[in-house]
Symmetry: C4
Subunit: 255 residues, 4 copies
C-alpha cells in the first residue's frame, strides 16, 4: 500500500455538479499545459495539496534558493462553471502508486462535488507534423465518445492503451459511478507542446460549453514553431554532418 497524505490549503464548500479535470505531467505535457491554462484564465484557487511516498524521492531546487516538494495540487474554479482542476509536478512511480493515486484523485473530486471526469494527455507520434494536431477521444461511454467525435475528435485505432492517471481515472470514475472522458492531443512527444494543448482546449471548450482566451497558448505555440523551423533549417544545412539535437536549454526556453 502506498502512503498518500493530503494537506488542506483552504476550506471550501463542495461545488455543484463540478467537472473534474486532470492534467498531470505526461507526453508533451499536453495535459499539464491545458490544465494550467484553465486555472490561470479562470482564476482557480488552490484548496488542497497531495503528497505520496511513491513520488520521486527528491525535492526540486529553484534558482532563488528555495525548494519545491513533489506534489499534486487541486484547484477550484467557480466561473464560468464549477470545475476541480488537478495539476502537479509528478505522477506516481509504481503501478500500485498510479492506481491508488488515481483512485484518491477521483475520490477527492467526488467529495468536492465532481459528477463528471475529463482527463487530458498527449498521444505521442514520434514525428514532427506540419498539420494541426488531431485530438483523440476515449471514454467510459460509447454515446459520450460519439458526441465528442462529432465535435471533431477521432478514435484511436492503434490498439494501445492510456497509461497513468489519464487512463486509470477512467477506471475509478466508472467504479464511482461517474462518466469519464480522456482527450489526447497528438504530439511529437519529445517537446513540451502548447500547440497540441491549444487544440485540446478548443475541443474541451466546445464539449463543456465555455469560452476561454487561448492567446497565450498560441504565442507559446508560435515560439515553438519558430524553434522547430530553426532546427529544421539547421538539419538541412548539415545533411553531411551529424545533426545537433535540440539541447535541454533550447527545450526549456520553449517549454
Amino acid at each position: 500500500m502506498v502512503k498518500i497524505t493530503t494537506k488542506k490549503i483552504m476550506d471550501i464548500e463542495p461545488l455543484k455538479d463540478a467537472i473534474l479535470i486532470e492534467g498531470l505531467p505526461g507526453i508533451g505535457h499536453v495535459g499539464l499545459i491545458t490544465a494550467e491554462h484553465i486555472i490561470h484564465e479562470f482564476k482557480g484557487e488552490k484548496f488542497m495539496e497531495l503528497y505520496c511516498d511513491d513520488f520521486p524521492p527528491q525535492v526540486l531546487v529553484n534558482p532563488d534558493g528555495t525548494v519545491s516538494s513533489m506534489n499534486i495540487e487541486f484547484y477550484a474554479v467557480k466561473e464560468p462553471m464549477p470545475m476541480i482542476v488537478v495539476v502537479g509536478n509528478t505522477q506516481a512511480l509504481s503501478p500500485a502508486g498510479q492506481y491508488q493515486l488515481s483512485q484518491k484523485i477521483v475520490e477527492i473530486g467526488v467529495e468536492y462535488g465532481a459528477t463528471m471526469t475529463y482527463t487530458i494527455g498527449g498521444f505521442g507520434t514520434g514525428t514532427l507534423n506540419e498539420e494541426l494536431p488531431k485530438v483523440f477521444v476515449a471514454s467510459t461511454s460509447k454515446e459520450l465518445s460519439d458526441k465528442i467525435k462529432e465535435l471533431g475528435a477521432e478514435y484511436r485505432q492503434d490498439g494501445g492503451g492510456i497509461i497513468g492517471a489519464a487512463g486509470l481515472m477512467l477506471t475509478f470514475s466508472k467504479l464511482n459511478g461517474l462518466d469519464a472522458v480522456c482527450l489526447m492531443g497528438e504530439t511529437p512527444g519529445y517537446l513540451v507542446d502548447p500547440k497540441s494543448a491549444r487544440q485540446v482546449l478548443e475541443l474541451l471548450s466546445k464539449i463543456i460549453g465555455f469560452e476561454i482566451d487561448v492567446k497565450e497558448l498560441e504565442e507559446r505555440a508560435k515560439e515553438m514553431e519558430k524553434f522547430l523551423e530553426k532546427i529544421k533549417k539547421f538539419e538541412e544545412e548539415s545533411t553531411h554532418q551529424q545533426p545537433r539535437p535540440p539541447s535541454a536549454d533550447d527545450l526549456r526556453y520553449i517549454g
Copy 2:
C-alpha cells in the same frame, strides 16, 4: 500488500461441487482461449469482476472510442456441470501481486462452491511443430496426475516451473484443501495458439467428462495453419533476404 477490489455483477447462489477453471493470459494464450471457449459454448454468466493495483497501470483503448479497464472476470457455468471459469485481460505484475491474486481467485472459487481446481497454461517450445501439440500435466496429487497421464497427458522432464496464476493456484488450492491440476498445451509461444487450446480442451473434456463443440477452435486453428504456411513459403522464397517477421496485424488477424 497488494490492493484487490471485487465488484459483484450479479447475485448468484454458490454452485455445488463446482470445478474452478483458470485461463488468464499467458504463453500462446492457451489458457485464455480454452477458458473463453468453455464460457462461450456453455453460456457462462459473468458474476464478478476483480480489480487490482498490481495490474498494468492503464486502460485499453477500443477502436469504437470506449475503454476497457484491466481486470479479471468470474463466470458461472451450470450445465453440463457446475463450473466457475476465470478469464481476464492481464495477470498481476509483481511476485506479491501474483501470489495474492492467485490466493484471492481460489478463495472466491471456494466461496462459490469450487471443490477442485484446473489451471490451464501454455508450455512454450520456441519452435514451430508440424505434429499435434502435446499436453503436459502437473498436479497436487500423484494419483491424479497418473490418471490424467493415462488419458493422454505427459509429464514434463525439463526441471522448470509453472509461473503465475496457473502455478500459484495449485499452491493455494492445496493450502485450502482442494486438489488442483495444471494442464499445459505445447505451443511455439510467440503466436496465439488455438490448435494447442483445442488439444487441452479435448483432454479436459475427457478428464471431467463433458462434451463440447470445438468446431470454432478448429477453424481458428486452420486459419493459423494457413498463416504459418504463408510465412514458411515466404521464408523459403527469400533465403537470401532477411525474412519479414509476422507483423502485429498478422497476429491479430490470427489471434
Copy 3:
C-alpha cells in the same frame, strides 16, 4: 509489508536451549547441503512450513507429475542435542522480503526454544581451488568469533557483507537477545559444493560439540572432484578451441 503464512505440520513442544541452524539456498548451496545433511543424519522431523508472497511466483514441476510449492521448512532435531534446522527451496526476492523473512525465522526459532543462532553460507571466490576450502566466521560477538577462529576459522578481510538470511538473521538474533554466528565455506560459487559443506560441517561439529557421519558428503565431494578433473582435461585438450562450459545437466548430476 510482505505476507508470510505458516502452516503447522506437527505439534511439538518447544525444545530446551536449542540451536537454530539456517541453510537456505545460496552461493554453492553450501548452507543448504550442510543443513540437509544434519537433518538427514540426525533424523530431523518437519514441524512447520512457511509460505511468503515474496518468493518466486511459481511452483516447481517434478518429473513424476507432481509439483513443489516454493517454501521454507523447519525441522526439529532432538539428538545429539536440540536443534531447529531451517531449509527450503528459495529465499525472498526483495529487500523487504529478506528482512521480514529473516525476522520471522528468528522469531519462530525463539518460540520453539532457540537460544543461539548459526547461519551457514558460501563465500564465493569465482575460481577453482585445489586446496581444502577455508571456512570464514563472523558473529555478533568478538569473543565468540575469537573462539571459533581458534578452532580453525578465518576472518574475512574483503570489506564486504553477508547478503540474505545468513546475514540478516544475525541482525534479528541480536535484536532478540541471541548470539549469532555465520559460517561461510569458501566455494567457487558456480557449482553446488559438497566439499565446502563438508568443511563447514566439520567446524560446526567442533564448535557445538557433536559427532556426525560425513561419509555421504565426502562421496559427493569426490564425484565433484572427478567432474572437475574432466572439465580441466577437456579445457587443456581444447586450448585452441572455445572450451565447452559445464552444462546444466552436468551440474545437476553433481549437485
Copy 4:
C-alpha cells in the same frame, strides 16, 4: 508500507530548541563526514538506533570477525548548543523507503526537541577542481536562503533536485512546521571528500554560531590532496598507457 523499527539505546530528556542535523551516506560522503565530525568534536551520545526493511538486505563484515547491521543512529549533543545529529551506514533503497524514513527521522527529531533542520549533502561535479569547494544552499524559506547566501553560500542554477533524505527531510520538516536548510558541498563525487565537508562545516558554524575544531578534517583533506597529486602525476607519466584508476584500497586509505 516500509517497516521501520527503533531501538532506544539511552533514555534522554527532549532537548530545548534543538537543531536536527542529517548526514547520511551520499555523494562524496560530505554529509556523513560533516555529521560524524560534529558528533566527535562535541561528544555526542547515541540515544537511538533505527532499523528498516528497506535497507540493503545484508550485514557488513568487519575485519575483527564481528558484523555491523545496516542502521541509522541518533546522537544528542548538549554543548555548545542542543543538537540531534543523524548518521548511519545506509539510506533506504526504494522511493517509499526514502519518504517514510525521512518522515520518521523528522518526527523523532521533533519528539526530542528539534525546531529547525539542517541536512547536508554533496553536489557532484564529476571533475576534480583545484579551488576550494563551493557550498550551495537551498531551503524552505527564501529569507533563510538569502541570509545564508550572504555568509558565502551560492544558489544552484542547474534545475536539478536533491535526492534522498537530504531533500525529503525538507518536505517533511515543512509539513511539520519546521524551517529546513540543505547545505551541499561541491565534490567530484567519486572520492570521499573531507575538503568539501570542511567547507560545509565552516559555513554551518557561521550560520548556527558555534566554534568547532576542524584540524582533523584538514589533515584528512591534505592526505586526499597528496593522493590526488600522486594520481595526477601517475596519469601524466603514462599518457601513452591506460592510466591505472585509483583502487578501492587507495580510496579506503583516504576515506
